[in-house]
Subunit: 126 residues, 2 copies
DNA sequence: GTTTATGCAAATTCTTTGCAATACT
DNA sequence: AGTATTGCAAAGAATTTGCATAAAC
């Protein structure tokens, strides 16, 4: 795993991403890992995994920081413009695998895009 | 269902939006209005103005809540998809007046879009 | 006069920091 | 051995809440 050492904590945390839903808030992770590691450690591991390009983070509409496994964003060549969908009711966040075209004639240098779509998920609609 | 009253505080706060840049963080507003009203009041007025449709809010990459005057979003008919641009260096946020097309074949009910573009503003590039 | 707005202080919640101790390679 | 990682406690920062008072309609 490169610079990031293979500690038990890192494996526990990564495991959650391998098995669970694709986007999880830090708060939720801290809650789930409460008995196996300190919350500070959770924050720090997430930081490292993001720097390594294994995860990407964004801010939910709830003001929390969310992390998700990187799919195409690891390429790093082009601007990653896949949106995240957050349910207004249950708060769950989901990565959507598609590309939202961003016009490039804006006279701004754009390095990153955070696209958050808010609505209701199928479960909450039913 | 209460009405929004025209108080001196509301006018002071609104004044900042009329004169200043189009997007301001709550923290900045609290700082600017420190001597004329309590920070709790700032939060509450912003809340009301947003409910009235005069302002819209979104979360910056800094984790802060930002507010901006509504332009087209007041129409409320269609999905407002104008992006906000935040400079990674100075942190300033700007509303960009354009429409980012969101595909509607996603099988999600989408009520709102928060599009945050990150990069460097002209001032910081120079 | 009734209802909404405000101030103040305190509480909550999320995140970061410092430092000594521990575990990885 | 050397360096990255962790735990813990404490600090910081943003936002919310409860309640009594004040101001708007």
């Amino acid at each position: 795993m490169g610079i990031v050492r293979q500690t038990a904590s890192v494996r526990s945390l990564w495991n959650i991403f391998e098995q669970g839903q694709d986007a999880i808030s830090v708060v939720e992770l801290v809650k789930q890992l409460k008995h196996s590691m300190n919350k500070t450690t959770v924050y720090r591991i997430l930081d490292r995994l993001e720097q390594e390009g294994k995860l990407h983070s964004f801010n939910g509409s709830d003001g929390l920081r969310w992390y998700a496994k990187c799919h195409d964003c690891s390429a790093e060549k082009h601007l990653d413009t896949h949106p995240h969908f957050q349910c207004n009711e249950c708060g769950k966040v989901e990565c959507l695998s598609l590309n939202i075209p961003i016009p490039n004639h804006l006279n701004h240098q754009i390095d990153q895009a955070q696209i958050l779509l808010l609505g209701q998920c199928d479960a909450c609609l039913a």
